[in-house]
């Protein structure tokens, strides 16, 4: 496998990065990077880390071409080399990471997730209201991995705060069974793309076809997270198998309405990417826009009320007079 870390990757322009990944030879992983400057979304870091951990697990080789970019120290500080047991040949003075990033972490159990969520709060140095959606997103995404992904390496998480835009970017990746296989326990999607659409549709869970889900799964988690991005006009991406769904930023002047069909959102959606065995989720949360988490909950509540109303209406039978 070959991965090239380009000059700049964020969710908005991630497509060429994904298309350039060479997943053909599973016996080794070669990582190279742009020579001058590398700036990547945390979701990219979690993908690289997840693939690297999979290689280590299977006792395969990782070759990380010596980084020359002036931003190379970032990769050391975020913990990529340490996690993959690679010698970066960099000697850096560790700064306290408070308020800037959450280093790449591996989470394998619900207990580790609890610890991670409480430990990350002081790292972010933010007010309670701003931390709330971050805790929410990470908890729900990692929990999805632990429950459904069967990922040998667990969930790989990373986040980075960008003060200029007041945005936190979060990535969660796994190398498990992927959405198609997971959802196939109750549905029969014909492709990765069809599986992704099912996974984003509220009320659809891989564990059952029953309305309301099972006692532990409602099929609402990804819908909530996508909605969080939508309400705040942020990016969200979901990549599994050969398909990637990307929620694009809603135009500022457009009124936001939550929709059941993810394809009716302002999005890009294609099934042309190298096969990712597992699932990758990336999200941006602009914390300025996030002042009101209440607004999201109101929108979701409104959505479900409307859905219920429509369902009752559809079941209502008018008398037929002949």
């Amino acid at each position: 496998m070959k991965i090239f870390l380009p000059n700049s990757v964020w969710i908005g322009n991630i497509d060429p990065f994904l298309e350039a990944m060479d997943m053909s030879n599973q016996n080794s992983l070669m990582i190279s990077s742009h020579k001058k400057w590398v700036s990547v979304h945390p979701v990219v870091l979690t993908m690289v880390a997840a693939l690297g951990l999979k290689m280590l697990q299977n006792q395969k080789k990782i070759f990380f071409e010596k980084m020359q970019a002036t931003s190379k120290h970032y990769f050391e500080r975020i913990g990529l080399f340490k996690l993959l047991k690679l010698d970066s040949e960099m000697q850096i003075k560790e700064h306290e990471s408070s308020g800037r990033f959450i280093p790449i972490q591996v989470i394998k159990t619900p207990e580790q997730l609890d610890t991670f969520v409480s430990d990350m709060i002081p790292l972010l140095h933010m007010e309670k209201e701003k931390v709330e959606p971050i805790k929410y997103v990470i908890t729900e995404l990692v929990r999805n991995v632990l429950e459904h992904a069967r990922s040998e390496i667990g969930a790989v998480v990373c986040a980075q705060f960008y003060p200029k835009s007041n945005t936190i970017r979060i990535g969660v990746s796994d190398v498990g069974i992927g959405i198609k296989e997971s959802i196939s326990q109750s549905y029969t999607p014909k492709s990765d793309a069809a599986a992704i659409i099912l996974a984003l549709t509220p009320g659809i869970t891989g564990t059952t076809r029953k309305i309301g889900g099972t006692s532990e799964n409602a099929g609402a988690g990804l819908f909530f997270i996508k909605s969080l991005a939508k309400v705040n006009r942020d990016f969200f991406m979901l990549y599994s198998g050969n398909a990637m769904y990307k929620l694009l930023r809603e135009p500022k002047d457009k009124k936001i309405k939550l929709l059941e069909d993810p394809l009716k959102d302002h999005c890009s959606f294609e099934e042309k990417y190298p096969h990712w065995q597992g699932t990758v989720v990336g999200i941006d949360l602009c914390l300025t826009e996030h002042a009101d988490f209440d607004e999201l909950l109101d929108s979701i509540d409104k959505f479900y009320r409307q859905k219920r109303k429509e369902k009752i209406k559809s079941l209502f039978k008018k008398p037929r007079f002949i």
Partner: protein
């Protein structure tokens, strides 16, 4: 009346579904027919995920019907927690 203090189990962030399931199985369901009122007290809990609330109450609603909400009460909920509880109650009553 039986009162369950959620904070004692979750701390200020109720996100662990295993804890929710444990409360449901061991502290709600065995008592739902014996008690006239069961109070889920969210005092000091600052936020809760939809998954947590779903694991806590969805099966109770499914098993006993929506009328169970007349005896299953939610105390001292932050407005956001109230909203998450309302959302879960809403979709659990969606007609099939």
């Amino acid at each position: 009346m039986r009162e369950i203090l959620i904070y004692e189990r979750t701390g200020n962030f109720a996100g662990n579904k295993d804890i929710a399931r444990d409360i449901r199985l061991n502290e709600i369901l065995p008592y739902i027919e014996k008690e006239d009122i069961i109070v889920l007290n969210f005092n000091r809990v600052e936020s809760a995920t939809q998954s947590f609330i779903h694991a806590l109450i969805s099966d109770v609603i499914r098993t006993y019907g929506a009328t169970v909400l007349e005896k299953l009460l939610f105390k001292d909920c932050d407005s956001k927690i109230q909203k998450v509880i309302s959302i879960v109650s809403e979709y659990m009553q969606e007609p099939s």
